[in-house]
């Protein structure tokens, strides 16, 4: 019995150690859809992902700032990524989620259309050249290439920057 237990513990430890080794030259991200495009944000910047809840409109803000919502006693701003990226707004679907992104003390909620998956990208797979030409300067960390698709990796700092 105890041998078995030790085996399990050993295995668990091995698992714990393993990803750390890779950590240095990889980026673990969570992918999601906004409109037809797929985006991703580093998993380290994601505090949590929740189903849509009620929010309160805040007057005098740009239209992509939907308002504020209550996340367990904290009042957080809510931003629609569709509107921020210049798409038209759409109704919530079964897949709509609020993704809570933080960077330091700044925390914001974002409405996204659908979560896709969490995955690990090697730095080599990320193309940083686009950043310079990008309109939304500072918003894009790089372009991740993955099998058959291309994923825009967003920078948390850029997402959380107040632009009004």
């Amino acid at each position: 019995m105890s041998e078995k237990l030790q085996d399990v513990i050993k295995k668990q430890q091995a698992q714990k150690v393993a990803p750390q080794k890779k950590d240095e030259d990889t980026l673990q991200v969570v992918g999601f859809n906004v409109g037809d495009e797929e985006f991703a944000v580093s998993i380290l910047n994601i505090q949590e992902i929740i189903k849509p809840i009620d929010f309160t409109r805040v007057p005098g803000t740009p239209d992509y700032v939907l308002g504020v919502f209550n996340l367990r006693g904290n009042v957080l701003p809510l931003v629609s990524l569709r509107l921020k990226f210049g798409l038209s707004s759409s109704k919530y679907s079964e897949d709509t989620r609020f993704i809570v992104i933080k960077n330091g003390t700044l925390i914001l909620g974002f409405v996204i259309d659908k979560l896709t998956q969490a995955f690990i990208l090697k730095e080599a797979e990320i193309d940083h050249t686009l950043d310079v030409q990008s309109e939304q300067e500072g918003l894009i960390y790089g372009i991740g290439k993955r099998e058959d698709k291309i994923i825009t990796i967003l920078k948390a700092e850029g997402l959380l920057k107040r632009e009004f």
Partner: protein
């Protein structure tokens, strides 16, 4: 280095605390120059500051305080009478001491503060030597000694001052010797202290070192004593033991009292209290939520046993939370006396400067209010009091010719009134002249002549708060720049306070400041505008009134409301916050009269929700500085409600001024009415968990030719209502359903303002009277019991949806 830093911090805190008391004492001293107790207290401050500053190598400060100490010491021994002239010098030196202390606080040193103390030192010297000779005749046999004394003292202090920089240049041996010498002195002092204790003389702890030292020579004069730099008063006191003894006895009492008082209190970092207050805020939110849930549960399970128990728990939690909140708030409270303390000194200086006789009467200085407010309230009060003395109080000859006493009175009063604190500043001066104020304001272009004519006397008083407005004929040091009262207004507004000015021409002026007790948790009035809720701080709400459209008048294109004898501008909250109108306004309008500082406006809202205790939460960096919004709070139902920033609202109101006497017509309704050409444009939602029941309803309504949508339970219905493109014209609801029952569904639907008039029809087999009652309570307009005839249901639906086209 860190240790030294810590000592310096302690020194600064101590020094500033002492100085606060010092000003008060000195002014009192002027009235009672013979009060030894006072003198000793003042002397002790100078001495302590000197001792600590020499230890910390603040040479300039040491030198200044040393000379102050000289003068005070003489006064203490009756060798010097405190005259107003001498007091001016002493007060001046204390001011300089303050500025040096500020410099130390900011720069960590007094060497490059740019303050030249030489003139002040010279003045102090003149006082201590010159005047003491002058008054020597009155004093008596000590005279020859006292004349020679200052010389000795000055020498020793100067030598000790020169000594200090030498520490750096001393060799290791010399330093060791010096340390040994100081240690020896210290040990002797300790020994004497122990002896004194044994002799059953109460000796307070280190705080009153001064008093121990001065006591020493009386008990056992020692030759080494004069050497110690800290005990400079010793050589002066030693030759006059008789005078010394009388000085010591009252001092002991004082020392003891402060000694025991210190054990009762602890210093707490304000940040910790703030954190505690935040946690309490969370608790208050939780409490609100609990109360809300309880009322929901009470409604649903009326008469059940466990409700009593739940009620007890809820109410005890709520009492404890309230008590806890009050307790923590109290720890943050400071007596307003802390602010009032500096005014006797200010009045004294002002009256001397302006050659007026002014008496300050303070009452209610023990009234407590939140620390953050105490910090903000000081400046406005300074400006108001200056104003009262400069503009209000007349010069003595004018006063006498007006058959007033030649001494003017400024009364400063503080007291609690409900959830706020009121500070009243009353003077018996010449008062405000409405005509003069108006003409001045027109002259300076602050208001137009037309506006001036329309102004009531009371309104004209508030002109004094306009920036750039001053009634002073000439600009003096004290006032006349037209800045002061503007500062008052902004600061009081920042605190959500209200200013009231009242004045009788020739009799005097009263300015009343009404400030909320605390800033973190406030009482608020919750109002609804269309479907949005806003919280208005109750401290700014003067009253709420219900008016009809006919009560609104137009003045120069602006909507105003005549309320009793006042005319108020009106704005619609929906216009200010750009709320989308989906709902038609009724003929009755609710108006919340809000007042801030000295202005009042009426804000039109749709509904009043009620009064609630709310916790202010910041909107954070991302949304900071949104105009008109002061923060947010979380209500009992977990939703976020925005808190209106009343002062910004007043600003916004000016620009948003628009006619409000027209009815707002919802755009959607107009469009819809237009669109309904066919009966199939009417949409009815059927909510029932049984497919059979749904089919029966459908077939009953088939003849109407309307569009029918189905939902299988409350949750499904609610999401369909929210997501549907066109609104429903009626909803048929079964009561008994899984997930969410019909009552809950109905009350959920009614939460949305736009569905306030949506017909909800209960279709159920529950026939009890209580069931019907509940149906009415949650907003059902019709109660159909199963079984029913198809025609009956059809007619009811037809009636409620106002079907006007034929199938």
């Amino acid at each position: 280095m860190d240790e030294l830093q810590e000592i310096m911090q302690d020194f600064l805190i101590e020094a500033f605390e002492m100085i606060e008391q010092l000003d008060q004492d000195l002014v009192e001293l002027e009235q009672r120059p013979d009060d030894l107790d006072l003198l000793n207290r003042i002397f002790r401050v100078a001495h302590t500051v000197k001792g600590s500053s020499s230890f910390l190598n603040f040479d300039i400060l040491t030198r200044l305080t040393h000379h102050m100490e000289d003068v005070l010491n003489k006064a203490r021994h009756g060798e010097l009478r405190i005259t107003p002239e001498i007091m001016d010098v002493v007060l001046g030196s204390i001011d300089q001491m303050k500025s040096i202390l500020y410099a130390i606080r900011d720069n960590g040193t007094d060497s490059n503060s740019g303050i030249d103390i030489n003139p002040m030192v010279a003045k102090l010297d003149a006082v201590s030597s010159g005047n003491s000779v002058e008054s020597a005749g009155a004093v008596n046999t000590i005279e020859p000694e006292s004349v020679s004394e200052p010389v000795v003292v000055n020498d020793s202090s100067e030598s000790s001052n020169e000594e200090e920089p030498d520490y750096a240049n001393m060799s290791a041996d010399e330093i060791e010797k010096e340390i040994e010498r100081l240690l020896r002195v210290r040990q002797e002092e300790d020994a004497q202290r122990r002896a004194a204790k044994k002799a059953d003389k109460p000796v307070a702890s280190e705080q009153s070192e001064v008093h121990v030292e001065t006591e020493v020579p009386a008990a056992k004069p020692l030759p080494e004593q004069p050497q110690a730099p800290k005990s400079t008063p010793a050589p002066v006191t030693a030759p006059a033991p008789s005078a010394q003894k009388t000085a010591v006895s009252p001092q002991q009492g004082g020392g003891e009292a402060s000694g025991s008082a210190i054990e009762q209190t602890i210093r707490v970092d304000v940040n910790r209290l703030d954190h505690l207050m935040n946690l309490i805020g969370e608790l208050v939110l939780g409490k609100n939520r609990l109360i809300k849930i309880y009322s929901d549960v009470e409604e649903r399970y009326e008469g059940e046993q466990f409700l009593d128990e739940l009620n007890q728990v809820v109410s005890s939690v709520s009492t404890v939370t309230t008590d806890l909140q009050i307790a923590v708030m109290k720890t943050r409270m400071l007596p307003i006396g802390k602010v009032f303390n500096k005014f006797p000194r200010m009045i004294r200086d002002l009256s001397r400067e302006l050659n007026k006789k002014v008496e300050l009467v303070i009452s209610g200085e023990e009234t407590e209010l939140d620390k953050s407010i105490v910090e903000e309230i000081g400046d406005p009060l300074v400006h108001i009091i200056r104003n009262s003395v400069d503009h209000g109080i007349e010069s003595p000859d004018i006063r006498t010719s007006n058959s007033k006493s030649d001494t003017g009175t400024v009364a400063l009063k503080a007291y609690h009134e409900g959830n706020s604190i009121v500070i009243e500043i009353e003077d018996d001066g010449k008062g405000l002249d409405p005509m003069m104020l108006k003409s001045k304001a027109v002259e300076k272009g602050v208001i137009s002549e037309k506006e001036a004519d329309a102004m009531s006397d009371k309104e004209s008083f508030s002109l004094i708060f306009k920036p750039g407005f001053s009634t002073a004929a000439k600009i003096t040091n004290v006032s006349g720049r037209g800045v002061g009262m503007d500062v008052v207004k902004t600061n009081i507004e920042k605190l959500n306070g209200i200013i009231e000015v009242d004045s009788i021409n020739g009799k005097g002026t009263t300015i009343k400041l009404k400030i909320p007790l605390t800033l973190a948790i406030i009482q608020a009035l919750l109002v609804a505008v269309q479907e949005e809720f806003y919280a208005i701080p109750l401290s700014s709400v003067l009253e709420t009134v219900r008016i009809t459209r006919d009560d609104i008048f137009l003045v120069e294109g602006k909507s105003v409301l005549r309320l009793r004898n006042e005319v108020l501008s009106l704005v619609r909250l929906a216009d200010i916050f750009g709320v989308e109108s989906t709902l038609e306004e009724g003929d009755n309008l609710y108006v919340v009269i809000i007042g801030l500082a000295e202005t009042k406006i009426g804000v039109i809202i749709d509904r009043l929700i009620g009064q609630e205790e709310i916790v202010i939460k910041s909107l954070g960096y991302y949304l900071k500085g949104i105009e008109g919004i002061a923060g947010a709070t979380i209500r009992g139902d977990g939703r976020v409600t925005l808190i209106v920033d009343v002062s910004a609202l007043m600003q916004l109101a000016k620009s948003a001024h628009k006619k409000v006497d027209q009815k707002v017509k919802p755009k959607d309704a107009a469009v819809l009415a237009h669109k309904k050409m066919h009966s199939s444009d009417y949409r009815v939602l059927i909510v029932d968990d049984s497919k059979t029941d749904r089919s029966i309803m459908k077939s009953s309504l088939k003849a109407l030719g309307i569009t029918i949508v189905e939902a299988v339970d409350g949750v499904d219905a609610l999401s369909q209502i929210k997501s549907s493109d066109a609104p429903f014209d009626a909803i048929l609801i079964d009561i008994e359903m899984p997930k969410m029952d019909g009552y809950t569904l109905a009350s959920e639907i009614r939460k949305y303002n736009k569905y306030r008039n949506l017909p909800l029809i209960a279709v159920t087999s529950r026939t009890g009277k209580t069931d019907r009652m509940r149906g009415v309570e949650v907003g059902m307009v019709e109660y159909v019991t199963k079984p029913y005839s198809p025609d009956y249901l059809m007619n009811i639906v037809k009636r409620h949806i106002n079907l006007s086209v034929e199938a």
